[in-house]
């Protein structure tokens, strides 16, 4: 295997194609590799992977590693960590990039400790400094602050937050090497074993998947107004959420909670009603593209993050808002 300095992206597949997060990682990885004048490599793990190579080449990939093994068919922490560790041992990546996804969140910390290095968590921006070290920017304290951190270890691991990088296809092709390898794995490497997976279907649109989310907070004053929010959400084809204060008060189940200790959402449109915008709440919705807020306090923190707002009593504003949306949806 090639032993030159390189950036290694841990690729992921979702529903039979490259995940959007992987495309984002390849885009930022190509930029980093270009500024270092080094290779951009990617690894996919699983079975029957050769069908994905043509997609990977669009992103200027130099070497594509296909780690194929019957034990890698389903994601498993210990086996995936082992397979990537074996690849890293023979290819010496300068940097390894993962997405902040269900599997990336598990792999990142485990890989860091296994490889004896450290992890730059939750990066929204990556660059290379004059010492060829990886520099990451990341939100901390629920988004109240932004930290810029330099990684001086080897290799330099980073987890990148999804949807923070604009995907771009490279016109210039990479080297396009394809390297299939079979990692040495055995069932006995599994330390924590999945006995079964249980689906618990929820009715309606899942908060995490919703394109539009309508959330209510302490300002609603009770459980009843959430019915209006539910109606509004279904009118817009979205999901309903809530702040921690509303959940703590028992107005709505905690499964609706958006925030640091609740769900993290990334809708295109986030409508908040009676939510002040405490930092722990903002931590769960900072990935929303547009925030629109209705709040009677013009000084409420939520307006600092909102693109549009109405300062007023929701009891008056919300009916007007809902009626107008009803008439528009009926007309169109």
């Amino acid at each position: 295997m090639a032993n030159c300095q390189n950036i290694l992206v841990i690729g992921e597949l979702t529903e039979g194609s490259l995940s959007s997060t992987t495309k984002e990682l390849l885009t930022v990885g190509r930029n980093l590799a270009d500024s270092l004048q080094e290779d951009l490599n990617v690894v996919l793990l699983g079975e029957n992977l050769s069908q994905y190579t043509s997609d990977l080449l669009f992103f200027g990939t130099d070497t594509i590693y296909l780690a194929q093994h019957s034990l890698l068919e389903d994601y498993q922490d210990d086996l995936y960590v082992e397979a990537i560790t074996q690849l890293a041992a023979s290819t010496n990546p300068r940097s390894i990039l993962l997405g902040k996804t269900l599997t990336g969140k598990e792999l990142g910390p485990r890989l860091a400790f296994k490889l004896g290095t450290s992890l730059l968590q939750d990066c929204i921006h990556l660059a290379i400094d004059t010492n060829k070290n990886l520099v990451g920017k990341r939100p901390i304290y629920g988004g109240n602050a932004l930290a810029e951190i330099t990684h001086i270890g080897t290799p330099q691991l980073a987890i990148v937050r999804p949807k923070t990088i604009e995907v771009s296809v490279q016109e210039q092709k990479g080297k396009g090497n394809i390297n299939e390898y079979v990692p040495e794995l055995s069932d006995s490497m599994i330390q924590a074993r999945t006995i079964e997976k249980v689906d618990e279907p929820v009715s309606g649109v899942r908060l995490e998947d919703a394109r539009i989310v309508v959330s209510g907070g302490r300002g609603l004053g009770g459980p009843e107004p959430f019915r209006d929010l539910e109606d509004l959400a279904s009118l817009l084809g979205g999901a309903t959420g809530a702040s921690r204060a509303a959940c703590d008060a028992g107005w709505i189940p905690s499964s609706y909670q958006v925030g640091l200790t609740g769900k993290t959402i990334t809708p295109d449109l986030y409508i908040t009603v009676g939510i002040s915008g405490a930092s722990q709440h903002m931590a769960g919705c900072s990935g929303a593209k547009i925030i629109v807020s209705i709040n009677k306090d013009s000084e409420a923190n939520i307006f600092k993050d909102s693109a549009f707002g109405v300062v007023g009593d929701w009891k008056e504003v919300l009916p007007g808002f809902i009626d107008q949306i009803k008439s528009m949806t009926n007309a169109s």
Partner: protein
Amino acid sequence: MPVHIIVAIKQVMDPEIPPSAFTIAENAKEVVSPSNIPPVINGYDEQAIEAALRIKETVEEATITVVSIGSNFSLDVMKKPLSMGADELILVDTGDIGNDPDSNIAAYLLTSAIRKIGSFDLILCGRQASDWDNAQVPVGVASMLKVPIITVGRKVEITAKNVRVERVLPNGYELVESNLPAVVTLSSELGEPRYPTLRGIMAATKKQPILWSLNDLSIDEDLPTSNLTINTITTPEKQNECTIIEGENGQEAGKNLALKLREAKLI
């Protein structure tokens, strides 16, 4: 055989503080804790305490040791696990070194404290801390102690040799099993941590936290070097200028908001 559960917790700045109380030091390298707002136990760590108490209720005999590394501990805040029902509390003042941005350091210090505590069957932690959200220290502890780790649990059960955890998944859960001893991290889906009872509070007043310092940890040359350097900590620039939608009355403003969103093709 009595079961020994260690719960690792962290004192953090209250994540509910108003943004106006959030301050960054002049050197732009650290966050300043507000002096007038008390810190809290990290939310997910309270769920780890709750998980330990629930296990204690199901086994014949169990001891719960709560341990925390950090500095400037607020005893009033940190004694809460004792009033919830934990048996002992160890606070390790690690000074500034515990604040290193590299989770390797905190994992090493916590592992050293756990080694000093001695034998254990299960270590429970919150899935991540609300200040830096790194979710790395529990993984580091498991790695350094060479025991399995299961993350993001919502239910934990132990048998003589095994731990079974319901791990939270986006569409449900998976049941994961490993040998004991093991590390398990807990998530909010476990449910609300219990409130201390009056009896618990009374019992806790008789218990004093055990205070250790760095010197008690017998840290040797294998303290890891930090691989991460903070260049700056800044207040993020707000990209949005909020457009306030007006109307003759609230109803009208709501209507205008809907029209504005349609015009912007957002709905």
